[in-house]
C-alpha cells in the first residue's frame, strides 16, 4: 500500500517532465573513470596515506613482505593476528616464527574472539593516490568486513600495480566487485573523529593504527 501511494504522489509531482528517458532528459556533463594527472602515483599515495597519520612501509619485492609484517606486529606489541583464508602464508610465516598467534578466520572467529585479537593482516583491492585511500572488496585475501574492523591494528598489503590516481579510476576498477555484489570498504587512515570542538582525534571505534605495506 505504501509503495502505490508514494509512486502515485511522485508521478503526479512530475507532471512537468515530458521526456521519459532519464539520460535524454538530463545530460550529465562528466566523463567517468578518467585518470587524473599524477606524476608519481605510488609516491603520492604513500605521502597522502601518511597525512592521515597511518604508516607506510615499502617492500622491494613480495619476498620482503613477511619480515615487514613481523616487524610491524612486533613494534606494536601485537601478540595475535587474524588472517583471512586467502592471505598467503608467506606474509605471516615470519611473525608466526616470532611467536605471534595466528588466528585463521576459518571457521569464522566470533565477535568476542576478534575483540581479543590484537591485529589483522589483509590484502587490498585497490588504492589511490590523490586521497590516500585503500579499498577492500572483501574477497578471500581480505576477509569479511568484521575482521578489519574489530582488532585495533590493521596491516594491509597492497601492490604498486593496484594503486591508481584518484577516485574515478578507482571506481572503474571496483565496478566488477560491485557487479558481483561484494561489499566494499574504503579506508583513509585510522578511524578518527572531529566531533569535539572540531579537533581531530585519531582512533575511535575502528582500528586505531593502520599500517600499509606497498609492494614493488
Amino acid at each position: 500500500m505504501g509503495k502505490a501511494e508514494i509512486f502515485a504522489a511522485i508521478r503526479a509531482a512530475l507532471a512537468d517532465v515530458r521526456e521519459p528517458d532519464p539520460a535524454a532528459d538530463v545530460a550529465v556533463p562528466w566523463e567517468y573513470g578518467q585518470a587524473t594527472a599524477v606524476e608519481d602515483v605510488v609516491g603520492l599515495f604513500a605521502e597522502r596515506v601518511e597525512d592521515y597519520k597511518a604508516t607506510v612501509l615499502r617492500a622491494a619485492s613480495a619476498d620482503a613482505v613477511g619480515d615487514l609484517v613481523a616487524q610491524a606486529l612486533a613494534e606494536h606489541g601485537a601478540g595475535s593476528v587474524a588472517v583471512p583464508a586467502g592471505v598467503p602464508e608467506a606474509w605471516y610465516a615470519a611473525a608466526e616464527r616470532a611467536g605471534v598467534a595466528i588466528r585463521r578466520d576459518d571457521p569464522p572467529l566470533t565477535n568476542a574472539e576478534l575483540n581479543e585479537t590484537a591485529a589483522v593482516l589483509t590484502a587490498a583491492a585497490v588504492g589511490w593516490a590523490e586521497t590516500g585511500t585503500i579499498a577492500l572488496d572483501h574477497r578471500a585475501d581480505q576477509g569479511r568486513r568484521a575482521l578489519t574492523l574489530v582488532p585495533d591494528l590493521h596491516v594491509c598489503v597492497i601492490e604498486a600495480a593496484q594503486i591508481v590516481t584518484d577516485v574515478p579510476e578507482a571506481m572503474a576498477r571496483l565496478q566488477a566487485s560491485l557487479n558481483d555484489r561484494q561489499p566494499i570498504t574504503w579506508i583513509s587512515g585510522p578511524s578518527a573523529t572531529s566531533d569535539i570542538e572540531l579537533s581531530r582525534v585519531e582512533g575511535v571505534h575502528g582500528p586505531r593504527t593502520l599500517i600499509v605495506i606497498v609492494v614493488g
Binding site: G2, V167, S188
Partner: protein, 529 residues
C-alpha cells in the same frame, strides 16, 4: 546494565530523555534567534567550530582543478534522479530484492516508525545500535522505539554527546557543535554510568580521552547488538547498493556486527549508477569535513553470505519528499547531500546556532527544506524562509549547486501567498513587503540609509526596529549603528571580487563585517543583481 530506573519519579525510560516538546512547536525563528544570540558561550563554540571547518573546506576544494565540473556533474545527476524518481526507485527495489534485501515503503514518519518497531520486535530484542542518520531524526525514530520499550543507542560520538546530554542536535554533521570539551566531559561523567560502562573518574577534557571513553562505553553495546539501524548517504539503483560515509568506525560496527540491519532512507537518496559515486564521493568529504576523504566508506548490496548481517531491510521514506518534488523550483532542495557546508558558511547560523531553526535540518538547507517537507502550517515553518540574509555564500559552497537564496525568495512568496489566500492581514502584507525589499538591492539600500538617518537623529547606539517593511527582519535583531559608509559602499571599495579578484572567499568569511546589518544589505544586492 540498562537504565530502567533512574530514580526519577515515573521514569521507566531506557534511554536519556530528549528535551520536552515537539520541534514543530518551536517559536518562530526571530523569537528563538533572539534567545540564542544572547548565549555568548554558544556563539563562541559555534564561531570556533564553523571557522575551523570553513578554512579546511576552502583548502581542500581549491586543491581539485575540476571542482566546478564536479559540482556541475553532481547537480545534473541529482536533477536526473529527481525528474525520474519513480524510474530509479523501481530499479533500486528490484536490485535490492534480488540481492536478498527486504524493501519497505513508508509514506510518512508514522508508517516508517511502525515498520521499524515491528521489525525490531520480531527479532525479540529490546535494544538496537544506531549509525547517525538524518532521516531517523526527522521521523523521530528513537522516541518511537523508546515508546515501544526498545532502547536505541546512538553511536556516533557527537550523537552520543547529544543523547547523553538530553539534548537535540544543532548541526547535521557535528550535532554537538554547540558543546565544548568541558561540557562533554561533564555529560560523560554524569550520564555514562546510568546507561552502560561508566566514564573513568579520572576523565579530563582532552578530546582524545573523551573519544576513548566513548569507545569503551560503546564497545559492549556493539558486540552484543543483534539489530543495527542506519541511514544511507547514497543508494545505487543499478546494483542495489547502499553507501554510508563516516569517520569513526561506529558506522562499520553497526553495519557489520549485528545479525539484522535496518536502513531507513529518504527516497531522494537514490543515484543511478555505481560510477556516479566517483562524483559524490569527491564532493561530499571535501565539502563536509573538509578532508580529502573521510576515514571510512561502506558499501553493501543486500545480504552477503558469511559476511555481515544476514537479514537486511531497507525502509524507503517519503515523508513530504513527493510534495517537495511537485514544485519544479522547490525540488532543487532534494539535491542536498547533507554535507553541511551551507550552514558552516552561513553568518546567521554561526550567530544563532542550529536550535533556533526548530528542525533537524538547520541553517540554509533547513530554511528551504523544512517548510517544504513539513508544509507551512506551523509558525516556525512560515518563519524559516526569512531566516536568512540572502548573502549567497551558501549557494557558492553547495557541492550540488542548490540556489538556496533563490529558493528562499521563492518560499517567502509562497508563504505570503498562502496566507493571503486565507485572509490578508497586516502581518502578511509586511512579509510580502519584507520579501520585496530584501529582494532588491536599491530598495534595501534606501531602507538601510533611512535606518541610519533615524539613528543619527535619535543618537542611539543600536538601531531598534527598522521602519516598515524591514521591521519584520529587525524585530529580533539589534542592529549596530550603520557607519557613514554602508556595507555595500564599503564592499564595492574593498571586497568586490570584480574589483579585487585576489580576495578569497575564505578571507571574506573569516574577518567579515561583524554585523548582521552589513551582511543583510550585501545579500539583498546579491539577490537582486
Amino acid at each position: 546494565m540498562t537504565a530502567t530506573d533512574l530514580g526519577m519519579p515515573g521514569s521507566s525510560r531506557r534511554t536519556p530523555a530528549p528535551p520536552a516538546g515537539r520541534l514543530i512547536d518551536s517559536p518562530p525563528f526571530p523569537v528563538a534567534a533572539k534567545q540564542y544570540l544572547a548565549d555568548s558561550q554558544l556563539r563562541a563554540n559555534l564561531h570556533h567550530a564553523t571557522s575551523t571547518i570553513r578554512a579546511k573546506r576552502a583548502r581542500v576544494t581549491a586543491e581539485l582543478p575540476n571542482w566546478e565540473q564536479l559540482r556541475l556533474a553532481g547537480e545534473a545527476v541529482k536533477d536526473r534522479v529527481a525528474r525520474h524518481l519513480d524510474y530509479y526507485l523501481e530499479e533500486l527495489e528490484q536490485n535490492l530484492t534480488a540481492n536478498g534485501a527486504h524493501v519497505h515503503w513508508a509514506a510518512d514518519a508514522a508508517e516508517a516508525n511502525q515498520i521499524v518497531v515491528d521489525l525490531v520486535r520480531a527479532k525479540g530484542v529490546d535494544e538496537v545500535v544506531k549509525v547517525k542518520s538524518m532521516v531517523t531524526q526527522e521521523i523521530e525514530l528513537n522516541e518511537a522505539l523508546e515508546a515501544a520499550g526498545i532502547a536505541a543507542w546512538e553511536t556516533d560520538l557527537a550523537e552520543l554527546i547529544v543523547q547523553l546530554g538530553h539534548d537535540r542536535p544543532s548541526h547535521i554533521l557535528v550535532p554537538a557543535i554547540h558543546r565544548n570539551r568541558a561540557e562533554v566531559r561533564e555529560i560523560f561523567l554524569r550520564e555514562m554510568k546510568l546507561y552502560g560502562r561508566a566514564a573513568p573518574d579520572s576523565l579530563d577534557d582532552e578530546p582524545r580521552h573523551l573519544a576513548a571513553a566513548a569507545r569503551q562505553h560503546l564497545r559492549d553495546k556493539f558486540l552484543r547488538a543483534k539489530v543495527g539501524i542506519s541511514g544511507a548517504n547514497f543508494m545505487v539503483a543499478e546494483t542495489g547498493t547502499l553507501v554510508v560515509v563516516e569517520s569513526e568506525g561506529n558506522g562499520r560496527m553497526c553495519l557489520t556486527l549485528p545479525e539484522t540491519l535496518i536502513s531507513v532512507t529518504g527516497i531522494e537518496k537514490v543515484i543511478p549508477t555505481a560510477a556516479d559515486l566517483e562524483v559524490f564521493l569527491q564532493l561530499l568529504p571535501r565539502s563536509s569535513t573538509g578532508e580529502r576523504m573521510n576515514p571510512y566508506t561502506s558499501m553493501w548490496s543486500g545480504v552477503r553470505p558469511g559476511d555481515g548481517p544476514q537479514e537486511v531491510h531497507v525502509v524507503l521514506v517519503d515523508n513530504g519528499r513527493s510534495r517537495v518534488l511537485a514544485d519544479p523550483i522547490g525540488r532543487k532542495a532534494l539535491r542536498c547531500i547533507r554535507c553541511s557546508a551551507c550552514m558552516n558558511i552561513c553568518p546567521v547560523y554561526e550567530r544563532v546556532g542550529g536550535h533556533a531553526y526548530g528542525s533537524v535540518y538547520p541553517g540554509p538547507i533547513g530554511a528551504i527544506l523544512t517548510p517544504q517537507l513539513r508544509g507551512t502550517a506551523a509558525a516556525i515553518d512560515r518563519s524559516l524562509p526569512f531566516a536568512s540574509t540572502l548573502c549567497g555564500a551558501c549557494a557558492e559552497v553547495c557541492p550540488v549547486r542548490i540556489p538556496i537564496p533563490d529558493l528562499l525568495v521563492h518560499l517567502r512568496h509562497r508563504v505570503v501567498d498562502e496566507r493571503k489566500r486565507s485572509h490578508l492581514g497586516l502581518e502578511q502584507a509586511l512579509m510580502k513587503g519584507g520579501g520585496w525589499v530584501m529582494a532588491s538591492g536599491p530598495r534595501f539600500g534606501l531602507l538601510e540609509r533611512a535606518g541610519g538617518l533615524v539613528q543619527r537623529v535619535t543618537g542611539r547606539e543600536a538601531v531598534g526596529p527598522l521602519p516598515w517593511p524591514a521591521s519584520l527582519w529587525t524585530r529580533a535583531r539589534d542592529l549596530p549603528l550603520p557607519p557613514e559608509q554602508t556595507f555595500r559602499q564599503w564592499w564595492r571599495a574593498n571586497r568586490d571580487p570584480l574589483c579585487h579578484p585576489e580576495r578569497s572567499e575564505g578571507s571574506l568569511r573569516d574577518d567579515e563585517a561583524t554585523t548582521v546589518t552589513s551582511v543583510t544589505s550585501a545579500s539583498a544586492e546579491a539577490a537582486a543583481e
